[in-house]
Amino acid sequence: MSATILNWSITIAQIMLGMAMLCTIFRLAGGPRAQDRVLGLDTLYVNAMLLLLTFGMRSGSTLYFEAALVISLLGFVATVALAKFLMRGEVIE
């Protein structure tokens, strides 16, 4: 009973997160300016991290947690570097 409830709710949550990733991919591909694309990439990182966490809850292993931690770290660094590039024209001066 409880396994069925959990299985269905995690499946619905994964479908919702997949639709959210699709929305950010549309913004990433068709954003009118560069800052829209960077914002879409940042949101895509967050959504992918949440999707990995739901995969970890489904399989019951902590391997997905470490992948989610690495994805959130890399997303922070990538967005800061891209914002710096938009501001100054180069990343490391």
Binding site: S9, M16, A20, R33, V46, M57, F65, M87
Partner: protein
């Protein structure tokens, strides 16, 4: 999903509700990113996913693993702490870069610089 068969019903209901609320708010935030008109409106929408969406799914994961292993499993706090600290930093950097680009191009729909920020050579 075989290890979740001995999960009590209240834990399953609570975890399901938290996961669904988190994923739904993330979907609403990403849809707002797709639908809103201006960039400065759009930059507010994904924070719904990085505040309540991340919080809901992380609390659900902590609760599920704590009940399944009958000991406190709290390492998801690392992700929560990291996302809470870094999201305002990245979005403020991005908004300032976008404002700088709009002002350099002379767009009329961004607010002008404050008079104390303008270098004194530009206003005689």
């Amino acid at each position: 999903m075989s290890e979740a068969a001995d999960l009590p019903l209240w834990a399953a209901l609570l975890v399901s509700a938290l996961v669904l609320v988190g994923a739904g708010l993330t979907l609403i935030g990403s849809y707002g990113l797709l639908r809103l008109e201006r960039f400065y409106d759009r930059i507010h929408a994904p924070t719904l996913g990085s505040s309540w969406g991340t919080g809901g799914i992380l609390v659900a994961s902590m609760l599920l693993f704590s009940v399944l292993q009958t000991r406190p499993v709290l390492h998801e706090i690392l992700i929560a702490l990291f996302v809470t600290v870094t999201t305002p930093v990245t979005l403020m950097l991005l908004a300032r870069a976008a404002l700088y680009r709009d002002r350099t191009e002379g767009n009329a729909d961004v607010p002008p610089m404050l008079s104390k920020d303008v270098p004194p050579t530009q206003n005689p």
